[in-house]
């Protein structure tokens, strides 16, 4: 095998300039990709084993792959045979991991009517070109490689009657010069109109544009006027980077504000000395936002101090902010109303810095779910698409079928956003389904929240045990045999993935034994296995109203791991010896085999306890073992709970409601409040206890890499809205610590109930919950000890151990605990705190997505319910926040919240603290106050149905 040297110059971080020499082996036998070729090797060495067989084969160049990946991937007779060159794929991979993945799946899966092959031209002796060290640019070299490969292929294939044609999406002049056969993507689309909607528009190369415009010049002289630039130009990358170094520019991630799309924030570090201090910079107005989209990493420049301002408290959605025409009118009115609201601001705070986007460091564009706006359709083939995600601007798309797609949800992707165009332009990838269709809308929810809906891969399914798997004697020998214990599980009705079970045993008059038994998922899911990989990517089971997307295949989640009644199952048990007051004397952990005596629902368990208590009071002793055990547990749980409350645990609330689903029609008929029984609390109490004990154990053994969960203590500022809200209802709230907070919340609740306001307490708790940050997973090595605190539970350390079937964090905790107990060594990747923290961050991210998805699903179903109940829905609502131009209200009965817009005409003024609004008709609306709202559904096909709340 001949070898070539490839030399690079590399500069290390320390300033060392190194010449790097790499070997490059050339081979003779590599397959050329043609099925019929006799002279090359028949089978390749890698995963891509496809072969091309048609007489003419398209060889896409890098521009074609990068820009037109969706089109190239389409199964179509004009694109049936594709040969990808190694040199092209190398560039594609370095430019876009997503597109590369697309090509990868094209190469590794077999599709009817589509053949894709790979040709490793850079390692094939005949097609390798040596790159001289002083001259040509990379692009020139890559292009030459392509030309050389195609020329050779055509020569190589003459005997078998095949022809290689370059598929290009750019200026083809160099191919013309070199006299290699080529075809442009555009030409193919023009010949096959059905492909046109997938064609991604892009900038033509300047030369090509000149030719075009000169042609137009002759026919229509007016058209040559260059379109007006709407946005400022971006700085060149180098200049931007230089500016960042010189601290003239700053880099951060762009996030539009949730209420007002004309306003966005970028969190940056303004002081180099204090790296942990981050400042939120406001980016106001379209011009300053300069074509940024949610999640983009942008480079910003600060505006002069005179232009700094307060964040807006207006509710402006894309619709209002959008300007379809070129008129500036809307902009003017917007800034007008803003000016008014500005005056309302409290003057005791400093204004936030503002800035403008000067460059984009990295785009975060993903495929968006959207609907074609009928309004924008003016007979042609182009239309504006309205993304479901409100923070994403409308996207211009072009499709022949555009009129058929109206009212349907489509998946689109942004191709580019020119400075001359108000909206970005993109193309449709696929149709999802009609809007208002439950299936389609649910799919939209899943896509928008990045929840994987694909089936488990074959590799992952291959990790499962056989269907006939049973607990064997071998298991019983190596684990604690707890089959004789009276273990039972208590869960919501219809629960199939039972991950916890409990037992209670009295040891003597002073001591009791409580066992918390958790499904032993790690016995089935080995670290690093394909199944583990897949579960970790899913992160948690996602619960929607009418379905759930499971983290583990149902064979495990619903069967082998589920601690069903009467079945022998593998478990991870925590055996806690405690005295009658619930003080733990000794805790032991171990793998076990259990046999649950009963799988109860909360209701069933509660009934058993209630009946037994009634019986005992009448002097009938309880004989049933399970019930006895339940009663013991309930007793201890009460004490545990009391102690936890005394330590300062918070009782939080969420406005969630339960749907009553009529199974036959698969329709929701009504909603109900969650009923919390004693048994719910009992199970919760023991889960919390087990989690805390495990967290302590884990932290002792792995102080640097324990997977913990913390809930940071909210700052004074964060409580401000809560205190103000309470004040406007006439109460003082003590937030000095969690214990005081909980107590004063309870006091208020009591006082309000006395006044006949049943809901105020819950409402305040909802607001309190909102003012805190969410609890997050983290690695113990990344955070200092005092910050381990779980504020809400008032626990110094906490983790999640009890639901490994539906949370990946628990799976990791099980592995850590196994390592503590010496069952297995800790995998390398779990020993490193930073790696562990990466896991934690990823899981947090997945949890957030799951939460958003499940909320969106609830909303979807609520809307469906509202629709069915007709237009005349009037409900009592509570105000939770007052904005400059509206109210945020919560409808307790349905657990939904929304914005009531109040026109300037109706509104008189908002008081200085923002806790009351006076209307023109004399009514004063206060935070937490009750208002009657009319609920109606505004269904426009181009977006999700919107719930409109109107003040009555």
């Amino acid at each position: 095998m001949p070898v070539r040297e490839k030399l690079f110059i590399r500069k290390s971080h320390r300033g060392n300039v190194q010449v790097v020499a790499r070997e490059h082996y050339l081979r003779k036998e590599l397959p050329c990709g043609a099925l019929k070729c006799a002279s090359c090797e028949k089978t390749g060495h890698g995963k891509a084993q496809g072969r091309v067989s048609e007489a003419s084969v398209l060889v896409p160049d890098q521009e074609a792959v990068l820009r037109q990946a969706d089109l190239i991937g389409k199964v179509h007779p004009a694109l049936s045979d594709l040969l990808f060159l190694q040199s092209v794929l190398r560039v594609v991979r370095s430019k876009s991991a997503d597109v590369y993945e697309q090509v990868q799946s094209m190469l590794t899966t077999t599709m009817e009517g589509k053949r894709a092959a790979i040709f490793s031209n850079e390692n094939r002796e005949e097609t390798y070109l040596h790159r001289s060290h002083t001259g040509e640019s990379e692009e020139y070299y890559d292009r030459n490689l392509l030309i050389a490969a195609v020329k050779w292929l055509n020569q190589h294939w003459t005997s078998i009657g095949m022809k290689a044609i370059i598929l290009t999406d750019s200026n083809a002049s160099s191919y013309l010069e070199e006299d290699v056969p080529y075809v442009t993507v555009k030409k193919i689309c023009e010949d096959h109109h059905e492909l046109l909607e997938l064609y991604a528009e892009h900038d033509e190369l300047p030369e090509a544009m000149d030719i075009e415009s000169s042609n137009e010049n002759r026919s229509n002289p007016q058209k040559t006027k260059r379109p007006r630039a709407v946005y400022p130009d971006y700085l060149p990358e180098r200049k931007a980077k230089a500016g960042i170094r010189a601290r003239r520019y700053f880099q951060g991630t762009y996030h539009p504000s949730a209420y007002d799309v004309t306003e966005a924030t970028v969190t940056v570090c303004l002081e180099p000395k204090n790296k942990s201090k981050r400042t939120q910079v406001l980016i106001v107005g379209r011009e300053n936002q300069n074509r940024s989209i949610d999640g983009d990493v942008v480079v910003i420049e600060l505006l002069p101090k005179s232009e700094w301002r307060f964040p807006s408290n207006l509710a402006v959605d894309q619709e209002a902010a959008d300007i379809d025409s070129d008129s500036e009118e809307a902009e003017v009115t917007l800034s007008g109303s803003r000016a008014k609201s500005e005056k309302l601001k409290a003057a005791d705070r400093d204004p936030s810095p503002t800035g403008r986007v000067v460059a984009i460091a990295q785009r975060n564009w993903r495929p968006y779910c959207a609907t074609i706006s009928e309004k924008s359709l003016k007979g042609g083939e182009t239309a504006l698409c309205v993304p479901i995600d409100r923070s994403v601007p409308k996207i211009r798309v072009r499709s022949r079928r555009i009129s058929q797609l109206i009212g349907k949800r489509v998946l689109i992707i942004i191709d580019k956003w020119d400075r001359t165009s108000i909206h970005p332009s993109g193309h449709i990838i696929r149709e999802i389904g009609p809007s208002e269709d439950k299936e389609a809308e649910t799919e939209v929810i899943l896509i928008e929240n990045g929840i994987p809906t694909r089936k488990f891969s074959d590799a992952a399914m291959g990790c499962l045990p056989v269907e006939s798997w049973r607990v064997t004697e071998e298991h019983c020998k190596t684990r604690w045999d707890l089959r004789e214990l009276t273990i039972c599980s208590v869960d919501p009705p219809g629960c199939t993935d039972i991950d916890d079970a409990l037992h209670f045993r009295r040891i003597n008059t002073d001591e009791v034994e409580v066992g918390v038994h958790i499904a032993d998922v790690t016995a089935f899911v080995g670290h690093g296995s394909a199944l583990d990989q897949e579960a970790s990517e899913r992160g948690c089971t996602v619960y929607l109203v009418d379905r759930r997307i499971e983290m583990l295949p149902s064979l495990l989640s619903g069967n082998f791991c589920s601690l069903q009644g009467g079945e022998e199952r593998l478990a991870f048990s925590a055996i806690l010896r405690m005295n009658n007051n619930g003080n733990i004397k000794r805790s032991e952990f171990g793998r076990s085999v259990i046999k649950s005596k009963a799988a109860l629902t909360y209701e069933m368990a509660q009934n058993r306890i209630d009946e037994a208590r009634k019986g005992e009071s009448q002097g009938k002793p309880t004989t049933d073992e399970v019930t006895k055990s339940l009663m013991g547990l309930a007793e201890i749980a009460k004490k545990l709970r009391a102690r936890r409350m005394a330590a300062g645990a918070l009782i939080l609330a969420s406005p969630e409601v339960k749907f009553k689903i009529e199974e036959a029609r698969d329709e929701i008929t009504d909603v109900a409040m969650y009923q919390v029984r004693e048994t719910n609390r009992m199970v919760e109490e023991f889960m919390l206890l087990a989690n805390i004990v495990v967290a302590e154990k884990m932290l002792k053994h792995f102080p640097q890499c324990a997977m913990l969960r913390r809930h940071p203590k909210p700052s004074e500022e964060m409580f401000e809205p809560l205190i103000r809200a309470a004040k406007s209802a006439g109460f003082d709230l003590d937030v000095s610590n969690s214990k005081r907070l909980n107590e004063s919340l309870a006091e208020i609740e009591k006082a309000a109930k006395a006044r006949g306001d049943e809901y105020l307490g819950t409402l305040l708790r909802i607001v309190a919950t909102r003012s805190m940050t969410q609890a997050v997973y983290f690695s113990s090595g990344e955070v200092s000890d005092p910050e381990y605190l779980h504020y809400g539970l008032a626990a110094p350390v906490y983790t999640h151990f009890t639901s490994p079937i539906r949370r990946y964090a628990d799976v990791l905790v099980h592995r850590l605990l196994s390592a503590c107990l010496g069952y297995a060594s800790l995998p390398m990747s779990l020993q490193d705190s930073q790696r562990m923290n990466q896991y934690a961050e990823a899981i947090n991210q997945r949890h957030r997505c799951a939460q958003y998805a499940s909320r969106a699903s609830t909303l979807l179903h609520t809307v469906l319910l509202f629709k069915r109940q007709g237009d005349k829905l009037e409900e009592a609502a509570r105000i939770i926040r007052i904005l400059g131009n509206g109210l945020v209200v919560l409808v307790p009965r349905y657990g939904v919240e929304g914005i009531v817009h109040i026109d300037d005409d109706a509104k008189a003024r908002v008081d200085e603290t923002g806790s009351a609004m006076t209307l023109k008709d004399g009514r004063t609306l206060r935070v937490l106050g009750e208002v009657k709202v009319r609920i109606r559904i505004d269904s426009a096909p181009e977006r999700m149905d919107k719930v409109i709340y109107e003040l009555m």
């Binding site: 040297e5 690079f8 190194q18 060290h133 640019s137 060149p236 200049k239």
Partner: protein, 295 residues
């Protein structure tokens, strides 16, 4: 009767004397014949400049590494050249201490000769901010005498072979120009996290290596061992062990003499001096021929 090999080991001086008396050296050379010189330039592709010298069996490898650093305060506009010589264990099989001592002597010898001829101000990218630091390392791989000449020649050849990437300081505002000016550039940053509040430095290094060192008028050396009133040019290891007195002629590339180095020992007669000088001039021509052929 003892065999030749044993005699050679036991009475090395007598052994050599018998040869020299007949104007022949143990390896078959005449007194005034130097060994065959082989010079390979640029053989180590991971160094910015390198050269391999083989003088008979003596093998010496020189390589240059380059680093971008902040200049020291005393000479803000001057680059830095570090010179070191290592005597590898493969060369002599002697212990580390012995080798270390010899290497230090050689390094000092090389440093005093080479450093004055490098214009360190050409190694400055921007005064006060960024300069090149070149480290020249010479490895003696096989030691069969006359390391001095080999080391100097290898060092000179390696330095002449140095090709540095073009570096330009980038100020924020001219970033755009550079982008268009040089292809295949990459951004680097030479600032250390530790440096407090200093303005950070950015430079652009092109992947083309074009900049060569200006190294005219470099020194070349020709060494002789004095033995029995005779001067043995280019002594082998065996001869070096026996003889004590050594003369090194420092020459210019043109063939003129620049200096002479002699540390005591036998007296050098004018006649011998003249003959040595003439031989040195011839030898330098040979060096130059190889140097020019190699580059």
């Amino acid at each position: 009767m003892i065999s030749e090999d044993v005699y050679r080991k036991v009475h090395p001086k007598e052994y050599l004397k018998r040869f020299i008396d007949k104007d022949v050296r143990p390896d078959g050379r005449a007194v005034s014949t130097a060994r065959y010189l082989r010079l390979t330039i640029g053989s180590i592709n991971t160094a910015v400049g390198s050269a391999l010298v083989r003088l008979g069996n003596t093998t010496v490898l020189a390589g240059v590494n380059a680093t971008l650093i902040r200049p020291n305060n005393a000479n803000p506009d001057k680059g830095i050249v570090e010179v070191s010589v290592e005597l590898l264990p493969t060369a002599s099989g002697e212990s580390r201490n012995v080798r270390g001592e010899e290497a230090v002597v050689l390094a000092e010898f090389l440093r005093t000769l080479i450093i004055p001829h490098i214009d360190v101000s050409t190694l400055c990218v921007e005064a006060d901010k960024l300069v090149w630091c070149l480290s020249l390392t010479v490895y003696c791989i096989d030691h069969d005498g006359n390391l001095e000449d080999s080391v100097v020649l290898a060092a000179v050849a390696a330095l002449r072979n140095v090709r540095l990437p073009t570096v330009r300081m980038v100020d924020g505002d001219e970033g755009g120009d550079i982008e268009n000016g040089i292809e295949n550039t990459r951004m680097i940053d030479a600032d250390n996290e530790a440096e407090e509040g200093n303005e950070s430095i950015m430079a652009v290094v092109s992947s083309k290596r074009t900049e060569s060192l200006e190294l005219d008028n470099f020194p070349l050396t020709v060494s002789f061992q004095l033995f029995c009133e005779k001067a043995l040019i280019d002594p082998s290891a065996e001869e070096e062990v026996v003889c004590v007195s050594r003369v090194t002629f420092i020459m210019k590339p043109t063939g003129d003499m620049r200096g002479i180095l002699k540390e005591g020992g036998h007296i050098l007669s004018p006649k011998l001096y003249n003959s040595c000088l003439a031989q040195s001039k011839e030898r330098v021509k040979e060096y130059m021929k190889k140097l020019q052929a190699g580059s």
